[in-house]
C-alpha cells in the first residue's frame, strides 16, 4: 500500500495562488499550513494578511483571517490576541509592509511581548506595486525608485530587521531562514514550528524572517533568483536564531 509522504496540508485551501512562477511566497505559505497542521492549530488559528503581494493570502488558507491595512498587521493581531487569548494569532508580512510603513507596529508588538507570531517575507523589494525600493533592498540593487541602484550614501544600508529586534529584551524568538533551496526550506520549517510552538506554550512574541525571491521584479528567472539570493542576500542577511527564550528566562 502506498503511503503519501507529501501532500497539501489541511490548513491550506485548494485555490491556486496568484503569485508569479517561482515566487517563494508560495513555499512560505505551505510551511505555515504544514506547521498549523502538525501542531493541530487549524481551528484556533487566526491569520492577518498584509498589503503586498500576499494581500490575498487569506484565499490560500482554510482558517480564520483578517486583512490588515499596509503595515498594521501587528496592531491588528494585538487587538485580537489581547481579547481572544486562546487563539493562535500570526501576521504574514512583506518587507515593505513590515520594515517600512509598519516598523512601529512591529517593534512595539514585539517589545510589549504580544503573544503572536510574525511570518516575515523579505524579498528586498516592493513586489505588489511593481518593484520599488524597500528598506531591505541591497546596495546597488536596481529598482524603479532607485533606477541607478540603491546608493548607500543617500539611502542608507539595508535594514536587518531580525538583528534589530533581537536587541529587545522582551521577545521570545527571532530567527532568519531562507526558502530558495530545499535544504533551506527544511531548516526554515523547523524555525517556524518553534515559533508557533512557543506561542502555544504561552511565550511571547516570535518572528521568523524568510529570505524570499521576487523573480518578476528582480527581472530574473526563478533559478537566477535563487542564485542571486544566495550570492547577494545571504552574506548580508546571515541565517540563524537571533533570540531564543532560554537566553532570557
Amino acid at each position: 500500500m502506498a503511503t503519501t509522504v507529501f501532500k497539501r496540508p489541511e490548513s491550506m485551501s485548494t485555490n491556486i495562488t496568484h503569485y508569479c512562477p517561482g515566487c517563494t511566497h508560495g513555499i512560505v505559505h505551505r510551511l505555515v499550513g504544514e506547521v498549523l497542521d502538525e501542531l493541530g492549530l487549524r481551528e484556533r488559528a487566526i491569520g492577518i494578511a498584509p498589503v503586498g503581494c500576499s494581500v490575498l493570502c487569506y484565499n490560500y488558507f482554510n482558517i480564520d483571517f483578517q486583512e490588515s491595512a499596509h503595515g498594521r498587521a501587528p496592531a491588528m493581531a494585538t487587538g485580537i490576541k489581547r481579547t481572544r487569548p486562546d487563539t493562535i494569532v500570526f501576521t504574514y508580512q512583506g518587507d515593505g509592509d513590515l520594515a517600512s510603513i509598519g516598523t512601529n507596529e512591529l517593534i512595539h508588538a514585539a517589545n510589549r511581548g504580544e503573544r503572536i507570531t510574525t511570518v516575515f517575507v523579505n524579498n528586498a523589494i516592493y513586489g505588489m506595486t511593481g518593484g520599488q525600493m524597500a528598506p531591505t533592498t541591497m546596495p546597488g540593487q536596481v529598482t524603479t525608485t532607485c533606477p541607478m541602484g540603491r546608493d548607500v550614501q543617500t539611502m542608507g544600508h539595508p535594514l536587518r530587521v531580525s538583528e534589530m529586534l533581537a536587541t529587545l529584551k522582551t521577545p521570545s524568538y527571532i530567527a532568519r531562514v531562507a526558502v530558495h533551496k530545499p535544504s533551506y526550506v527544511i531548516e526554515a520549517k523547523r524555525a517556524l514550528k518553534k515559533a508557533f510552538q512557543y506561542q502555544v506554550e504561552g511565550r511571547c512574541y516570535s518572528l521568523v524572517e524568510f529570505l524570499s525571491t521576487c523573480p518578476t521584479n528582480w527581472a530574473m528567472t526563478p533559478s537566477q533568483s535563487t542564485k542571486w539570493l544566495e550570492d547577494t542576500m545571504l552574506p548580508y542577511y546571515p541565517l540563524g536564531e537571533f533570540k531564543t527564550p532560554d537566553e532570557e528566562e
Binding site: 496568484h18 508569479c20 503581494c53 494581500v55 513586489g127 511593481g130 518578476t216
Partner: protein
C-alpha cells in the same frame, strides 16, 4: 472620424506597447488620441489590455465599451472582447495562440498567426508588431508610413530590433491586406 481599438493578451505579449505605438503614430498625424491601459490587480501575471481612441475631434469619454476593433492575442482576450466589438467592426485574431472560434457574424474577422510569423522572422517577441501591421492594414486608423516611422524612431537605439520590427509590420500588413 473616430477609431477605437482594444488590444488584449497575456502580460508580456507587448499589447501595451503596441497600443502606445499606435497612439504615437496617431499623434504624429495630428489626431487627438487617448491610450488607456487596464491596470488590474497590483500584481504580476494574468492578462493585459489597453484601448486606443483616435479622433479628429476632442475625445470625450476615454471609456469605450464597444470599440470599433479588437486585437486579441489569446483565448481569454477573445472571450472577453469578441462580444464587445460593435456591429460592423473588426476583430483581429492571433491564431497562433487562439484555438476557439469567434461566434460573431456581424464583424469582419482577420486571422493572423502572429507568433508563428514573428518566429519565422527570427523572434517571437515581434508578434505584437505583426498584428499591429495587420490592424493598420484593416482599419487605416493611421497611415502605414507614419506607423513605420514611429517604430523606427522608437527602436532607433536598438538597430537589431528595428529591422526585425519593420519586417514584422510588413508581414502583418500584407497578410491582412490579402484577407480584406
Amino acid at each position: 472620424m473616430q477609431n477605437e481599438v482594444v488590444i488584449a493578451g497575456f502580460g508580456g505579449q507587448g499589447v501595451l506597447s503596441a497600443g502606445q505605438i499606435l497612439a504615437y503614430s496617431a499623434m504624429a498625424e495630428g489626431f487627438n488620441v487617448v491610450w488607456l491601459p487596464s491596470y488590474g490587480p497590483e500584481m504580476r501575471g494574468g492578462t493585459a489590455n489597453c484601448s486606443v481612441v483616435v479622433s479628429d475631434q476632442p475625445i470625450a469619454s476615454p471609456i469605450i465599451p464597444h470599440p470599433g476593433a479588437a486585437i486579441v492575442m489569446n483565448n481569454p482576450s477573445l472571450e472577453r472582447f469578441g462580444p464587445a466589438v460593435k456591429a460592423g467592426g473588426i476583430i483581429i485574431i492571433n491564431t497562433s495562440l487562439i484555438n476557439i472560434k469567434c461566434q460573431r457574424d456581424d464583424v469582419t474577422q482577420i486571422n493572423i498567426g502572429a507568433n508563428q510569423v514573428a518566429m519565422d522572422l527570427g523572434n517571437g517577441k515581434a508578434a505584437n508588431m505583426v498584428i499591429l501591421g495587420a490592424y493598420v492594414a484593416a482599419t487605416k486608423a493611421v497611415s502605414f508610413d507614419v506607423l513605420k516611422a514611429t517604430v523606427r524612431e522608437k527602436f532607433a537605439r536598438k538597430p537589431q530590433f528595428e529591422e526585425l520590427n519593420m519586417r514584422a509590420l510588413d508581414a502583418g500588413f500584407e497578410l491582412a491586406g490579402k484577407q480584406m
